[in-house]
Amino acid sequence: MSGHGSAQKGLATRAVQLLALATSFGVLFALTKLTPELESRLGTMTAIGFLVLAGTLLSELLEPLRLPHLSGYLLAGIIGGPYVLHLVDHATVKELSPVNTLALALIALAGGVELRVSTLRSVAKSLTYASLIQTFGVLISMASVFLLLARFIPFAKNLELRPLLGVALLWGALSVTRSPSACMGILSQTRAKGPLATFSLGFIMLSDMVVVVVLATAIMFARPLITAGAAISIDDFNVLGREILGSISMGTTLGLLLAIYLRLVGSQLVLVLLALGFGVTAALKYVQVDPLLTFMTAGFVVQNLSNQGEKLLQAVEQMGSVVFVLFFATAGAELDVPLLKQAWAIALLLCFLRSFFTLIFSRFSSRIAGDPPVVRKWGWSGLVSQAGLALGLGIVVEGAFPGIGTPFRSLVIAAVAINEMIGPVLFKLALDRTRESSSAEPVARPSLPPPEPAH
């Protein structure tokens, strides 16, 4: 993710960016009009090129509005994606999924590297209260909200109380998911430093683990409520326990190996990260451990058990400057616009209430923990974003409860779409307001050094 931009860019620069953006859209638009029936074997590569270029340019053009770069990437994907201009079709979006694998590995690694033991220790009390209060508070509140609004939700209005309770419980569990990628994206763009940035990062990375446990618990209790004849089973916890412990031990090993490599060799990190993102992720899935947690642990080990954390973070950020653009632009292209159109009203209401309860419980936990005023006021802002994790859990629910799964997942998609667009804006706004982002405002750094004098 790119650094925070210089605000004063000339009109000529903006004009060039606009021209470039129009050209990239124009080239692809002309091609799709000219050759609608031709299947190109390089369709995916073209889409990657388009999304990277359009995402980068749109994020730059939105900078004067003080919108985060993420919004630009998402918007590029939405506009170019299958539901608006159809420059990138469904099949291509699906083929881009390996990029998500790579991006999530990078995000988890970077997230782990950012977690220093000393910093965590300083906010341990705050994180403990926030995790407990946010998790249970938001879960119970949003489950209650779902129950109350059930009559306005098409697939829930005819459910009897028992299954409705189960579905509400699942909705509550999904509401406590956050977006590590959005958090890392904004922090990387703004290079924010301060109590709010530290708290948000620590909380979201920790919540990643908490949510998995919460959802497994919710599914365990929801199953007998939704499915007639089913009973509470703790088998899910056996699997979960193995997965969490396996991820931590694999992550520790990987982290130590990475630290040794960084110390002894330290070069070609882009290729090493590619191998980790694709190869190691595939291996981890094969042995059924969670790649996200594994990479997060690996990053944490590199940061705290060696002095190679900065080197790793730099490499991840360098590679992320391209991969993250593609990741979020693809997320934008995946966004189901027609579905959002159908369910926007109820989804928007649910999102608003989730944000409201997040704010209330954030203030409450901050007061108890004695957080600094900045966290007390803005601590909730980084917790609004939702992305891949919520969508992934939506798929888990769909698989576990075939009866209500599909409409439930559609509502999840609509709600995540809204949170995905609003959350990063709120978080960046908070970091700007608290001046945590401005403290690290880099000097305008040209893409390339000035040309050498002519010989």
Binding site: G3, K9, T13, V16, L19, L38, L42, A54, S267
Partner: protein, 416 residues
């Protein structure tokens, strides 16, 4: 884990090796200049020998290979007009382009007239195979020249001539393929005349190159420069392929525009280190794509085309004996026989428009030419330089200097 993941990891390992070859620890002259060893490795892993890299598995990576060929074209073009602290010498460059064009024309003509007896290709395929082989025959790899020059510490007019001529000749394959793709029937632009298609190919690359140059010249941040270069590059490759135009030609045009921009040295410094990491996996996969189960007449045609290339190079080399290559006899001609990754890339790019036996024949020609060039060319160049009195003893510490590390490109690049 799927075979695809294993192959990807293998290719990443190769790219890793390639990166180390341009890194600070690389020994000058390490490895073969043409990359033949990776071709042979790919062939050994491919369906004909070990079958580790089966045909369908290798073809899974076809899009990556094609993008790789386009990227190589971009890298070659970005370094085309300027050799670090000096412009390429126009006279020597003109001779280099002429050598490439004459070789291309001779091989094309010979194959075209031999085809009725040996290949059995008809209509457009007849022209395509002839021009495809001509395109692959035309370029002399600059790595071969650099390998000899740096390994033996050569300097002087002949070494400079060889370096500039080899670099200049790399313009011919993209141009030939641009023409070939424009000649191809069908595609996305059937109503546009041939000249128009050529113009669109070059215009597409040049236009997007201009956009990239303008963006990079503005106060874009360094970490976004890769986004711009990758974005415009992939868009160019994809658009050219979808429109049925030559991606090699479009990317070459894009590279030339970037090479003419005021940040050319910095762009070159960014792109050049990516050449080997891209080249090695592409070469390996090309080796795996080689199909020897071709009809005997086609194999004979390939063999004859290689002989024609050899003969043309020797004749042209002897003709140059009256000028810059005085006193080198046939050796200088043989030294310009060397081809490498770029010729292989041309053969792979050819397959996007003319698949099947025709593309197998062209790829086989490129591979055989490359291996033959590897045997004959470096030794011939060393003899030529020796006769011209341009070989010097090289200090061991200079042998260890990286040959194309980024900083050396920005500061000074001697040859290649």
């Amino acid at each position: 884990m799927s075979d695809g993941i294993w192959l990807l990891l293998g290719l990443l390992l190769l790219a890793y090796l390639g990166s180390n070859l341009v890194g600070g620890r690389a020994i000058r002259g390490f490895g073969l200049p043409s990359g033949s060893e990776y071709l042979v490795l790919g062939f050994a892993l491919g369906p004909h020998v070990l079958d580790v890299l089966g045909r369908s598995l290798a073809h899974t990576f076809e899009p990556v290979v094609l993008v790789g060929t386009g990227w190589l074209s971009l890298v070659v073009a970005v370094g085309y007009v300027r050799v670090a602290d000096r412009w390429i010498n126009p006279g020597r460059a003109a001779v280099g382009v002429l050598l490439g064009l004459l070789t291309c024309a001779a091989v094309t003509a010979a194959v075209y007239y031999l085809e009725p007896s040996f290949g059995g290709f008809q209509g457009f395929r007849r022209i395509a195979v002839a021009l495809g082989m001509g395109a692959c025959a035309s370029a002399t790899t600059r790595h071969s020249v650099r390998w000899v020059v740096e390994r033996h510490g050569a300097s002087g007019p002949l070494a400079d001539f060889a370096a500039d001529a080899a670099r200049a000749s790399s313009m011919v394959p993209p141009l030939a393929l641009t023409l070939l793709f424009a000649l191809a029937p069908g595609g996305a632009l059937p109503t546009i005349p041939i000249l128009g298609r050529i113009g669109i190919t070059l215009g597409l690359g040049a236009g997007l190159g201009l956009i990239a140059a303008l963006l990079l010249g503005r106060d874009f941040r360094r970490d976004e420069s890769w986004g711009v270069l990758l974005g415009t590059g992939l868009l160019t490759v994809g658009a050219a392929d979808r429109a049925g135009l030559s991606l090699l030609g479009a990317m070459f045009a894009m590279g030339l525009v970037l090479a003419a921009s005021r940040h050319r040295l910095e762009i070159k410094a960014m792109l050049t280190p990516t050449e080997k990491p891209v080249l090695l996996p592409v070469t390996l996969l090309a080796g795996a794509y080689v199909n020897l189960k071709l009809p005997t007449v086609v194999l004979t045609l390939v063999g004859l085309a290689v002989l024609v290339k050899l003969a043309v190079r020797v004749i042209l080399g002897m003709a140059l004996g009256a000028g810059p290559a005085r006193g080198t006899g046939a050796d200088f001609g043989l030294s310009m026989l060397a081809s490498g990754g770029f010729s292989i890339a041309a053969a792979l790019a050819f397959s996007t428009r003319v698949p099947g036996v025709a593309s197998d024949a062209v790829l086989l020609f490129a591979v055989v030419s490359t291996v033959l060039g590897e045997w004959l060319s470096p030794a011939a160049l060393r003899r030529s330089l020796g006769r011209a009195g341009e070989l010097h003893a090289v200090a061991p510490e200079d042998m260890g200097r990286p040959s194309d590390a980024p900083e050396s490109l920005v500061s000074r690049e001697s040859h290649g």
